[in-house]
Symmetry: C4
Subunit: 236 residues, 4 copies
């Protein structure tokens, strides 16, 4: 029973990793997707440094929340401790995605949060797409990947953000992370984040004095798609 769920999740995580390539968010080994089976506490994650064009669903690595390998012939992604920190802190998250997608990474390298410049952003992210502070030398030298997860959590908490309402952020100097209830949604959010990053860049070039949208427009767009009063899409 667990095995069936885990096998399905391995297939799902594999496909989500491939979708990152198909969506133009990842080249070579520059990204990874994980997902968690909350009942068993097992996490499925991409193996480290394996090329996408030879990777198979059976190559996905099964670990527990402490990072111990439960099944799989490969080492898990070197970013594993970052993923696990998010799963431990937020039990609403079912999948975590990391990429070096070109536009979001440019904002990361500029060490800037992405302001809410329009309704595309408002449809998905309920506020600025935050940018973490830079890690200290100590945080980088010891437990770097864990500290990357901790600084994401710190950033969300200091800004009083529910991670499902802000399903992604930017790691300073590095690139974006996104998440969601499922790996499909987490990858979708990774794509949306990069599109928003691209349009925000061009918005600033076209109007260097541009200000974020009014709170009431953000509310309207976010809440017509999410939460109790949503009226976008079909009734589930």
């Amino acid at each position: 029973m667990i095995n069936n769920r885990i096998e399905n999740l391995k297939q799902e995580v594999f496909e989500a990793n491939i979708e990152l390539v198909n969506q133009g968010l990842v080249i070579y080994t520059w990204g990874n997707v994980s997902a968690i089976d909350r009942e068993s506490g097992l996490v499925i994650i991409k193996p480290s440094g394996v090329d996408y064009d030879v990777m198979k669903a059976s190559d996905m690595v099964v670990i527990d929340l402490e990072g111990t390998i439960i099944e799989g012939k490969y080492k898990p992604s070197s970013d594993t401790p970052t993923h696990l920190a998010m799963y431990k802190e937020y039990d609403t998250i079912g999948s975590v995605v990391h990429t070096h997608s070109e536009w979001a990474t440019s904002w990361a390298q500029a060490r800037r949060a992405i302001p809410v410049y329009g309704t595309t952003h408002s449809d998905y992210f309920y506020g600025d797409i935050l940018c973490t502070r830079e890690l200290s030398k100590e945080e980088v030298n010891k437990d770097y990947e864990l500290n990357t997860g901790l600084v994401m959590i710190q950033t969300l908490k200091e800004n009083n953000k529910n991670p499902l309402e802000l399903p992604g952020l930017i790691i300073s100097n590095h690139g974006p992370f996104s998440w969601g209830e499922t790996s499909q949604k987490a990858v979708h959010n990774a794509k949306v984040l990069d599109e928003i990053a691209k349009m925000a860049y061009r918005t600033e070039m076209l109007n260097p004095n541009i200000q974020p949208v009014n709170k009431y427009l953000l509310d309207k767009h976010y809440l017509r798609k999410h939460g109790a009063s949503a009226y976008y899409g079909q009734v589930k």
Copy 2:
């Protein structure tokens, strides 16, 4: 008889929605096309939040000009009241298109009209591609999608524009709408609008002091393709 026309229009609207994806103007559910059968007053529109890769012609929703569903198992696009406002105001319009295409949306987020910087623009749009004013809190909170249509109409009227001579504009903070006599033309105009937006962006980067083209050049290009003196293309 009506049924035949409506079935054909459903197929046409379906294909026009798919063409938005093929032209790179829409990802996920970020766009919609509608068309009107003027004789019956029935409007065909994309269903809300249905993925393009599973959508079929039979999923198109048939509504009347008040938005009442006449046929279809899905809810119509949440932007339906915007489309209907345009059909009611302008009886020359046969199809309306909305996208979040990347370049036009960047101008929308910058809250700027696109000046006429060249002949590509002049071949299709007889003047600046206008940008609507921002909606007030009241306009957003109540009847938002209707008010989006009304502010388009207000913008066209205040600038004395015939919608067929300016077959698209930009909604402040949001993205472009375009239209035409047929859905093929409306989608064509959506593509052209985004190309113009892209080249206008780069024009300003290359020459921050650039001014719009002379009125006589705009006239020449627009009128050699449109109206009684047109000589571009083949005799119909």
Copy 3:
């Protein structure tokens, strides 16, 4: 005998027009290629406003140097007088290409020549890619397309340029023209011109104080590929 040559040239011009689309230089009907058979003085050119996806080799229009249609069921491109002006002035030119390719058109709209910023430019264009002056109201209102050709010739002559050494330029407010001994070379030059325009744009963004390359570097690159001392490529 003439007929054979003309039929071959129709096929060649057709394929060159399609190649513009394949190279990403043209969408819809935004471009045209012509070629001349010097012995008979006949010119083959794309018909006006015919979509690329339905166009056939047999749709190409055969005209003489005065623009009289010799063969073909369609009207020739509305830019025909521009092409003919170039063939009449320069008997070394075998083919002319016009596009609204996105980067070159942005420079055209910025009304700027493209300075020689590197060796890619120097490999093909022996000097700045010139930008024509703006046409006067009179020149636009009467014989606009002919005057577009004349201002190209004026620009080349005033700058003492041999058209085969500068196989393309930019029409102010409009877009690029390119040419060559054959339609393959003219299309090749259209593609190169757009790539150069793209990289020159980014060069200026990265270094607003950048200056053109030294004359000795331009000479080296242009002359190692062209003329008596060329040593690039294979011996013909």
Copy 4:
């Protein structure tokens, strides 16, 4: 025995040249790959000016380290002396790649080194991607391609760089060179270099005051993938 190795290397160099096109780094004949068989001292290189779409593995040219053609019906790439200079100076290099890839070439034309703005850069290049000084008139007029190689070596040496730790640089006014232990790695580095160049460009546009990353972050990322303490990827 030598013949077998050389035949394999010809196939490998051919495929690496094609991969440049597939990765979008080269159009037309704007690039070349070579590789060396260290035991025999023979170098395989792309022929000069041969189109990629007709090129075959058997067209690759075999030369010795002095540039003498050992096998092959074509002239080798005109950039051959640049490649040979690198092989002679650095015996750890197994393959050299040259392209005019669009982003790296824009930095080359701007005559600027690419600062280390993030972890993508740090994962591959252990420091700024250097830009060579401009060549003098004498260096261009005589032995230009050799001098291009020599100025690369000068640049690496003056900055105390091990070429395997900085597997690429930018030739002022020209474009990038990259290298690696194998042709696959050298092409991989060419792609990475262009991606880094693209994101660095956008980083500066988003934040004109941006500074390079801290040395401890560069160390962390470079050293977790390279050298004795690497822990990224799978154990070989």
